[in-house]
Symmetry: C3
Subunit: 336 residues, 3 copies
Amino acid sequence: MDFTGSHILSIQQFDRSSIERVFAVADDMEPYAARERVTRVLEGAILGNMFFEPSTRTRVSFGCAFNLLGGNVRETTGFETSAIAKGESLYDTARVLSGYSDVICMRHPQSGSVEEFAQASRVPVINGGDGPNEHPSQALLDLYTIHKELAHRGRDVDGLRIAMIGDLKYGRTVHSLSKLLCKFDNVQVVLVSPEELAMPDYIVEMLREAGHRVTVTDILTDSIQHVDIVYSTRIQEERFASKDEADLYRGRFRLNQAIYTQFCEPNTVIMHPLPRDSRADANELDNDLNQNPNLAIFRQTDNGLLVRMALFALVLDVVHLVDKYSHEVSWSTVGR
Amino acid sequence: MDFTGSHILSIQQFDRSSIERVFAVADDMEPYAARERVTRVLEGAILGNMFFEPSTRTRVSFGCAFNLLGGNVRETTGFETSAIAKGESLYDTARVLSGYSDVICMRHPQSGSVEEFAQASRVPVINGGDGPNEHPSQALLDLYTIHKELAHRGRDVDGLRIAMIGDLKYGRTVHSLSKLLCKFDNVQVVLVSPEELAMPDYIVEMLREAGHRVTVTDILTDSIQHVDIVYSTRIQEERFASKDEADLYRGRFRLNQAIYTQFCEPNTVIMHPLPRDSRADANELDNDLNQNPNLAIFRQTDNGLLVRMALFALVLDVVHLVDKYSHEVSWSTVGR
Amino acid sequence: MDFTGSHILSIQQFDRSSIERVFAVADDMEPYAARERVTRVLEGAILGNMFFEPSTRTRVSFGCAFNLLGGNVRETTGFETSAIAKGESLYDTARVLSGYSDVICMRHPQSGSVEEFAQASRVPVINGGDGPNEHPSQALLDLYTIHKELAHRGRDVDGLRIAMIGDLKYGRTVHSLSKLLCKFDNVQVVLVSPEELAMPDYIVEMLREAGHRVTVTDILTDSIQHVDIVYSTRIQEERFASKDEADLYRGRFRLNQAIYTQFCEPNTVIMHPLPRDSRADANELDNDLNQNPNLAIFRQTDNGLLVRMALFALVLDVVHLVDKYSHEVSWSTVGR
């Protein structure tokens, strides 16, 4: 995949070598995200951070990633404008907005909208989430996190053992992650959900066709015993016939420190796409896990910054220039 | 007109030489808008981009224009604050906000509000639209587009032949454009609208007093045959007694490629202030015109960036310094 | 108090020497706020300007302060996200957002929320207002204004004579200012309010324990005769049993130029935390005071910029570097 000037719309664009390229560039971004150095490589460039559906953390993460490369950010934070209400097409919106900026990150509630927008755009477009469809930077940051966590243990994504837990039917992140895992070898996937929220058949099929071993269960404690990664997701009450039924299932998929200690291998990594539900009667990952060093949920969002920096650097072809335009940090980072 | 430190509130401030000055500076901005060079001339300056009424594209256009000159942008995107709800005057709002920034762009739903604000402001204020009243940068970008499109054909605004079509009664842009055209010579204006939405008499009068030839009609195909510019605007259903009546009129003012080919001269330029209605049964400019090289609607919004950069450069008196503070672009613009 | 890397959550953190340190640094910021010079000291740093409750002026003031030190600003302007609606904890929000930026300014409607957020944050947090609880930069800018206004008269905060007027029961600013005044000597405080809106006993007590002389009255013209500062606040209709009763009180606490001239000493300074109510029948400070050179309400907001710059410079430990990274202003400031 040649990144320069390309749209980033779907994880389907990424073969294994493209994924590895993103990860290598994300590694290079570390000193800048960690505020060890400052780069001015994108000075004068503008990101159009067009969030036609609100999402504070994803929007801020993309904006910060661009700022950390020295660029400016102009943005929108919802359907504030009446332009679309007045019947404007995505084509027109894209033609106009792409005249202002150097790259656009777009979130929109409708499946396929970002691709339609990208076709009319005069600058590269990065999909920041188009409804239930795609959110490639999230999928990449999840896989990048798995890659880094395993690397610390001397392992790689090949041979990974992972449990995916919760709402596997509607959860976009577990679908995307599963698709990415198909580019790797010899993965063992345990799918843990209520039957009503099972992983779609086509994804299970895809995993098996990739030669992976897939196990399906609805018992948490069985699933988490022999895995490297526990990837938990939120179960939403409204998916069930009644609150009682929801509570029943929720109770069965909630991980806390006691269960972790009893059932998991010592270094099992806990991931979640966030936000997690932190209410005491609904939390899928208990707050008592917050001190567990294997809870990687905030390393995931940190990695998101690196992955997004990498995507910008690749699309605008400045990977080789980031260091050249860099200098020392002038402020104290003792508070970080 | 001495631009340095001035408010830009109304097109009435602009005589012909001021207009030509804006256009000359807008031309100078082209290498920066086209990302051929980057300038740092406004480094450290802050634009207060105060949109007390939402308007994504105008807000983003002003913000990008300021960023492209090297400045920072702080903004508001609606009546988020309770300050005005608590009975705060525009005077107080202006005194406070003008202490923070170097120049303010303000949009507000009420006629006259921006002028009132400007009177209390301690920094130059640019009117980004005060309800039905004024939106001078839009009028200037429309005229600048006409100027550039005609220049490509070896012509000038003097001697222009233009058809204005649609809602000429409530359309702020056609009023402002007409007023600006009064500064030029020997213009032929064809006004095309349903009788209920006719151009106000005072503007027709003003055009005639400027020595221009004004024709009034309600038949699209008559009007577009011998003009350089077709300036189309939206007809809003709610202006009519019934949807049927609206449909009747709308049908008569819709331009598509077949009508264009049959009736227009070969190089007739099509303009529109946007957003246009892109719904198949309501579009005043059909999507089949999108491939027509004379469709200038997106060149208009591109020109808006240049005009706004020019206004900032003039008001802050940095026209002569933009190049001095400039340097090479470091990223790939292949995707643009 | 060691500012480097610290959270700024409450005025209770500030002893007298810390206050004086903030004021000295705020003085140093003057050439930058006045656009005499530009500094790049925070180039590459990002402020997370997280306003989970809207407040245009405070948000823009913090953002501009950071820009004026050369930093970037990413922000949110309300509960746009569904993350908290989905049950996310402040802990999680803080862990995520603090991974993106170098310092966070946070406003939130709930008392104590900013402190809870700060405990989980990985970067310094400045409280931009947590409901009725604390808003330390407002309190500091009020005291800084008193300090500067008195300095012009060859005086200091010690020995200050001040009248606080209006809603002293619910007014956060007068509570905070009173607490700060307890760090100084020999202050005379006149408290002027309807009985229903009297200053809480614990604050009166605190002032007296600090050795200050406190007088309580409900007659405006008595209170303003022998003071250096008149600090007026808004009286809200909804605090009273009926509109008639509110009008009665409001009438008694409204200051205008005639009353000022008749009762105040020649150089009495008028302050207000803003927004003031500018409606003719409700204004606590009449618009005819706008030409009075002792009306310091907009000097207060200007000072807010200086105080916020000072807090950022202190927390990020760049006070000694601001000048080193500075250069000439390139644009015309004639319009300011």
